[in-house]
């Protein structure tokens, strides 16, 4: 369990459009030896893509776009590979991805020596995180494995499913992203919908951010964010107020203005800490590339608090270089919570219910309500 280390990033005044507030994160020193760029997969109109991993294994998934990470082993600057405008590469028709077993994969067909000093990794944004969430204790109780196997053979896999909304479906998000004025040196953004934290997005370099800013529109957002955007109404822009009674000269006016800016940043840091930094996350490393690590994290699934799943790339000192989060809805948090509790008590419903301070029947009702009755039918 650990927190996120967002040092090196400074929050600047947010920009409000309708129900969406976008708070830019500016990096004083951009990271140059890791670069991200984007691959657009051809799926017009947007629909599921079938990915083949050979040997007759298929996986159908919605893949709006993929990220490619470029890094150098020795800390020298990496090329901004494809994040330049107009490099004229067509969309990738079908990426040889192993999914969901391996959501991150080294890009092979790039004409680069793999395993050399510099390499590239291709991964699907947020899929790592969602994968982590969906696979949470998905193995289920070891006692029902046999039953599961039989059912899988008979009916096929019945993987867990979660609903999410595309950014385009979230009302007002497209306009908010369009009119947003990107700051010089900006390397990330915090998205608030109706002033509730919806997503965080951080990249290593300002050029990458500029190229990837529109990709926020193709990301996934929880149902809660969709509803907040739909019903939340416009949020208030909090304009600066200066205490005019104490200002007697232009220099004082300037210092008052600068003080306000500093206060604002501190205030926001407090708010941000509440929703992103404060929580302790269960971080799992997925891939290692040079001095960087790609990992995914799960929240502690504490009830009634905004919680995010996500994925990140951290450097050698543990500072976040790339970050993307997905805000779970309350129901999703409850699911995680119950699964956690059950797993902790080795799937003994009685023990788990006792630990949670509720009756056996109540826990069964909750499990059923959350759509997991299949897990416990025989076992309970």
């Amino acid at each position: 369990m650990s927190g996120l280390d967002l040092s090196g990033l400074r929050a600047c005044p947010g920009q409000v459009w309708g129900a969406v507030r976008l708070v830019p994160l500016v990096r004083a020193e951009p990271v140059t030896d890791l670069r991200l760029h984007r691959e657009v997969y051809r799926d017009e109109p947007a629909g599921p893509v079938t990915v083949r991993s050979g040997k007759g294994t298929y996986c159908s998934t919605y893949v709006p776009h993929g990220f490619v990470a470029d890094w150098t082993g020795d800390g020298s600057p990496a090329a901004a590979y494809g994040s330049q405008l107009g490099d004229g590469r067509g969309p990738v028709v079908c990426a040889p991805l192993h999914f969901p077993r391996k959501p991150a994969q080294r890009a092979r067909d790039k004409g680069r020596p793999s395993g050399g000093a510099s390499g590239t990794l291709r991964f699907l944004p947020l899929h790592l995180a969602l994968d982590g969430y969906l696979a949470l204790h998905f193995g289920g109780p070891s006692t029902v494995w046999e039953e599961w196997t039989r059912r899988a053979v008979r009916e096929g896999l019945s993987p867990r499913a979660e609903r999410a909304y595309r950014g385009e479906a979230v009302p007002g998000l497209d306009d908010a992203l369009r009119v947003f004025e990107i700051h010089p040196g900006q390397c990330g953004v915090l998205v608030y919908v109706a002033d509730a934290p919806a997503a965080a997005f951080v990249v290593p370099h300002p050029d990458d951010y500029r190229a990837l800013h529109p990709s926020l529109l193709q990301d996934l957002y929880g149902e809660l964010m969709y509803q907040y955007a739909l019903y939340g109404g416009p949020v208030r822009e909090d304009p600066v107020r200066l205490p005019d009674a104490y200002i007697g000269s232009l220099a004082e006016l300037r210092s008052a203005a600068e003080r306000r800016a500093a206060e604002w940043a501190a205030q926001h840091a407090g708010l941000m800490a509440d929703s992103w930094l404060d929580a302790s996350y269960d971080v799992r490393q997925v891939y290692r590339m040079g001095r960087f690590r790609l990992s995914r994290f799960l929240p502690p699934f504490a009830l009634h608090r905004p919680q995010h799943i996500g994925e990140m790339i951290t450097d050698g000192k543990g500072r976040v270089v790339y970050l993307k989060t997905f805000r779970l809805t309350d129901k999703q948090v409850r699911r995680g919570h119950v699964l956690h509790r059950l797993a902790a008590h080795d799937w003994q419903v009685g023990h788990a219910a006792e630990a949670m301070g509720i009756g056996h029947r109540e826990l069964m009702r909750r499990v059923e309500h959350l759509g997991f009755e299949g897990l416990l039918k025989l076992h309970g």
Binding site: C12, P13, E181, P239, R241, D244, I247, G248, L253, R254
Partner: protein, 493 residues
């Protein structure tokens, strides 16, 4: 001065500033429908409540879109006006139509036809306007559909000169009836259908279509048609000519300042660097011509100019807010005795301006005030976001605490109409905000802005408007010949 008066004055000013900026096109922050809806409401509101002032707005520097819209609304609702009002309206409409570009007037006539406005007054206005056109044959060729529609709608008699009786009518309605026309231009149009040489006797826009039909190469076409082009057409084809390596001369010193600024901003940065001396010289010359006798009379001037990302404008108004700011920059440099420009992005080179970054207006204002200017001009769309509202607070504290005597006169010029608030966006209640479309109007707008402080009543405003109306209607009779000449030159090259 009653409260009612104040409200009325505010309403009218709100409308005037909206009518200067809004064009019903898409803007950075709102779409075309929103803009049109908002503007239509404003027109209806002012027309119903303050009809004489609504008509008087025609005498001000409002943009052509709104001028045409006002004329149309006035003619549609002529029944609501008294006889006296109608007389003034008629004079104003005639004077304004004479100054509008011909395509815009023909479009207005078409709109009147579509709206089935065909009263005697409308027909008289159309007849008088068409009769005052310097070259009916040119209009018939260049604005064929427009003139045809107007003739049909207002029952115009097109046979002006007896020896060419009915020729124009035949040309428009039955061009196959005559073997040839005696008017050279009409005959050139007839011959241009099969003779390439005749194409070059026509005006540029008409010739362009024939050139395509004949398959004439772009380069050859541009070089030969160049003498027939108007100034703005020359400006428009500059880049097209450059790619095909055709020679189309352009006298930049004669171009309108804001158009020139928009042209410069449309060039790639490398081109601007390569042609720095030429472009700067052209912008300076245009600014000097615009400033005229007022050059150097404004004393110590500071300007805060917005080049944030929102000055991108929209697909219809590409980089328009930035072009206005750039033109204002060059104009202010000429008007001022000593001048200090401050761009919001912090960059220093105006020629290489491009929309970039957030809008830290507040901090730039502090920098500008430190210069202790006599006049401070802010050109911005009013979306102050880094941090939000700081500019308004700085101005408020400056006005209420630090500069109560008004040593510095501050004015905010806003090139963007905010559809949601039915007005141009203000920075602060203490500072007057005026709409701006062309930087050329800047001196007049600074005058008008004093009304926008919200302390002047309706009587004063009405007096100002009456004054403008008198000048406008009178000035028209003196200037119509000259204006006609420019139109003629514009049309025929």
């Amino acid at each position: 001065m009653t409260r009612q008066d104040l409200v009325a004055a505010e309403d009218v000013l709100l409308f005037v500033h909206a009518a200067i900026t809004a064009t019903g096109q898409r803007e950075f922050h709102s779409d075309a429908d929103g803009q049109r809806l908002s503007l239509d409401f404003l027109h209806a509101y002012v027309r119903v409540n303050y009809r004489p002032l609504y008509a008087a707005a025609l005498a001000l520097d409002i943009n052509d879109h709104n001028a045409a819209l006002i004329v149309r609304r006035l003619l549609e609702t002529a029944g609501e006006a008294t006889d006296e009002e109608r007389r003034t309206e008629g004079q104003l409409i005639a004077a304004r139509l004479a100054r509008l570009p011909a395509p815009r007037v023909y479009r207005l006539f078409r709109a009147l036809r579509a709206a089935k406005v065909n009263n005697r007054r409308t027909r008289a206005i159309m007849r008088d306007w068409c009769a005052a056109r310097p070259d009916p044959a040119l209009d018939a060729v260049k604005y064929r559909a427009g003139l045809k529609c107007a003739a049909r709608h207002a029952h115009l008699r097109l046979d002006g000169e007896p020896q060419r009786a009915g020729e124009l009518g035949d040309f428009l309605f039955a061009p196959g009836r005559r073997k040839h026309f005696t008017t050279p231009l009409l005959d050139a149009w007839r011959r241009a259908h099969y003779e390439q040489k005749a194409v070059y006797e026509l005006s540029f826009t008409v010739a362009e279509g024939f050139a395509a039909a004949h398959g004439i190469g772009r380069r050859a076409f541009l070089e030969r048609i160049a003498p027939r082009m108007t100034r703005l057409e020359r400006l428009r084809v500059q880049e097209s000519a450059r790619t095909t390596r055709a020679e189309v001369d352009l006298d930049p010193a004669r171009l309108p300042l804001t158009r020139l600024a928009a042209y410069v901003l449309g060039l790639p940065l490398d081109d601007r660097v390569a042609r720095r001396a030429e472009l700067t010289g052209a912008l300076r010359a245009a600014a000097r011509r615009t400033a005229g006798a007022r050059a150097g009379t404004w004393g110590r001037v500071a300007a805060v100019l917005d080049d944030s990302f929102s000055t991108t404008g929209s697909r219809q108004k590409r980089r328009r807010p930035l072009a206005t700011a750039l033109a204002c920059h060059f104009l202010l440099a000429e008007l001022a005795g000593s001048y200090r420009p401050l761009w919001t992005s912090g960059r220093r080179d105006p020629l290489l301006a491009y929309p970039y970054g957030p809008t830290p207006l507040g901090m730039r204002l502090l920098d500008a005030l430190e210069y202790a200017p006599e006049r401070l001009v802010i050109v911005s769309d009013g979306w102050d976001n880094a941090p939000p509202g700081l500019a308004g607070e700085v101005l408020r504290v400056w006005r209420t605490r630090l500069d109560r005597e008004g040593r510095t006169s501050v004015v905010h010029l806003n090139p963007v109409y905010d559809a949601e608030n039915f007005a141009v966006r203000r920075l602060s209640a203490e500072v007057p905000t005026a709409g701006v479309r062309d930087a050329e109007d800047l001196p007049a707008l600074v005058q008008l802005a004093r009304f926008a402080e919200g302390r002047t009543g309706l009587a004063e405003l009405r007096a100002h408007l009456d004054d403008r109306v008198r000048q406008f209607v009178r000035g028209d009779h003196g200037a119509s010949g000259e204006h006609g000449a420019t139109v003629r030159e514009g049309g025929a090259g």
